[in-house]
């Protein structure tokens, strides 16, 4: 495999937009191409993430739709759907296309539009990522999935609602430093604990918001990347899957797909958890961040809650997690999230992150989880 680098990144403001997802992607892609210093004509393929376009925009075939709106209608384009991990899955496949020598420059990204429908509609659509016959019939929601994870983690390890709330407080604090974030206000532990119940033990402020937004990254083969301004190298990119039904997962306090994807990515990169300086991981719910920090090997199983509470994952802590504000404060436009996480890590490794910069970061990791924990992607990045 050839070496592959990210040479350009672009992210829209996250929040509510009166534009289609294709328009949001096109804005992010134009920024990414400008950052890469390449014209749109240099793009040889588009790998695109979009999840609920069929439901919220009555739009399928969103790959070519996005390419057309961007103005590169003839490049081969494929839409990836792995629930919330879609554009990270797109990224892994794009890296393989460039690594294999099929293309030299590939555009990767995604976009989502959900704030144009009601909360109860989006709650229904997000639940489509769980099994229709076995789980949707029960009225299982996406917060419900992670509430079951939370209760199992609390029961097994003694993790507390206060520790989960500490994740929300930390990510909101980080979000105040990110001008693209959906929420740029600090919240208190008491506000989290006192917020409306969604799926016990999860409350409103344990949950990431619904978000409109787009994100894009340009990847290139080594000889192209060497001519670019500031390439950030892809050191590893791995995917893992797990049982679809929650009943088939033996231990709901863990996410085995995270552990398997992380092990594969670390092996590709020849690195381990202790080499990582900055992490963007999938905090769709506060408990998801705690379980992910354990699954990635940053902390021992059962100690992720303690780590959050003690500030070890805050900016300035042992291993800063989600300096962007994470899904919790930056927002979670599901089809765009994986690409947006990669954009943040590239920005960090270029030492371009301003007030939220992790000083001296050389190795970064992104982790994106799909829906009911049945899909996980992990990638590792490094600067020259």
């Amino acid at each position: 495999m050839r070496r592959v680098a990210v040479i350009g990144v672009g992210v829209t403001k996250f929040g509510r937009h009166e534009r289609t997802s294709a328009e949001l992607f096109a804005e992010a892609a134009a920024d990414a191409l400008a950052d890469a210093g390449l014209p749109a004509s240099a793009v040889q393929a588009l790998y695109y993430g979009n999840v609920v376009g069929g439901e919220t925009e009555k739009q399928l075939h969103t790959g070519p739709q996005a390419a057309s709106v961007l103005g590169i209608p003839t490049v081969p384009t494929t839409r990836f759907e792995t629930a919330c991990a879609s554009s990270h899955a797109a990224f892994r496949h794009a890296v393989m296309e460039v690594g294999a020598g099929v293309s030299d420059v590939v555009l990767v990204g995604g976009a989502e539009r959900v704030l144009n429908v009601t909360t109860e509609e989006s709650t229904e659509y997000f639940a489509y990522a769980s099994d229709a016959r076995w789980e949707q019939t029960l009225g299982l929601t996406f917060p419900g999935v992670f509430a079951l994870v939370a209760r199992a983690h609390m029961s097994r390890y003694g993790t507390t609602e206060e520790q989960m709330a500490a994740v929300a407080v930390k990510n909101h604090k980080h979000g105040t430093l990110n001008p693209k974030a959906q929420f740029q206000k600090e919240i208190t532990l008491e506000q989290v604990l006192g917020s409306a119940r969604v799926a016990d033990p999860l409350k409103l402020y344990d949950c990431c918001p619904f978000t409109d937004g787009g994100a894009a990254v340009v990847i290139a083969a080594e000889d192209v990347a060497r001519k670019s301004r500031r390439p950030i190298w892809v050191l590893g990119s791995a995917a893992a899957s797990d049982w679809m039904l929650l009943g088939d997962k033996r231990d709901l306090s863990r996410v085995p797909a995270t552990e398997r994807a992380a092990a594969a990515a670390y092996r590709q990169a020849g690195l381990g958890p202790h080499d990582v300086d900055v992490v963007e991981l999938h905090d769709c719910f506060t408990i998801a961040e705690i379980v992910a920090t354990e699954g990635l090997g940053l902390f021992e199983p059962g100690t992720g809650g303690v780590a959050a509470e003690k500030g070890w994952t805050s900016l300035g802590g042992k291993i800063p997690v989600n300096p962007s504000g994470g899904l919790k404060a930056k927002g979670h436009p599901i089809g765009a999230t994986g690409a947006a996480q990669i954009a943040e890590i590239v920005t960090q490794l270029r030492a371009d992150a301003g007030a939220r910069q992790v000083d001296g970061a050389r190795i970064g990791l992104t982790h994106t989880l799909g829906g009911n924990t049945a899909t996980v992607l992990v990638s590792l990045f490094g600067r020259d």
Binding site: T123, W134, T137, L138, L140, L148, A152, D248, K249, L252
Partner: protein, 126 residues
């Protein structure tokens, strides 16, 4: 042509009559519910249907307060992952148990439920 191991329709028809049916691997003895085409333990395809007792204990649970579209009149409702005594687990609605009594380890028993005309897995008190 490969014959189906057991269709979803067959499973839920039996469930509607109060019977939980799993399959056991004739090679390695692994138990699966719902059935899979191949045994995840030994990759063979030698399933034999087997009846489950329906008795289990709660492994995790939640009370849903914000429902998907069309189900707002059902909230709040409890969903639990239940470890059946045979060693396999199923997700189901919990009925006839007060929310404050819900706990990891609480014994429950399978009962069929119906939502929007579809049979679903439920659990009630032993």
């Amino acid at each position: 042509m490969t014959e189906p191991v057991a269709t979803l329709q067959e499973f839920f028809e039996q469930a509607r009559q109060g019977q939980l049916t799993a399959v056991r691997c004739g090679r390695c003895g692994a138990l699966a519910i719902p059935p899979k085409q191949f045994c995840p333990e030994c990759s063979q395809r030698a399933w034999e249907p087997t009846s489950l007792s329906g008795r289990g204990t709660i492994a995790s649970y939640t009370v849903i307060r914000v429902a998907p579209r069309g189900r707002a009149d059902e909230v709040p409702y409890a969903i639990a992952a239940v470890r059946l005594e045979e060693g396999v687990s199923l997700l189901g609605r919990v009925v006839d148990i007060p929310f404050e009594k819900l706990a990891v380890g609480l014994p429950v028993r399978f009962r069929p439920l119906t939502y929007n005309g579809q049979t679903a897995v439920g659990f009630g008190p032993r």
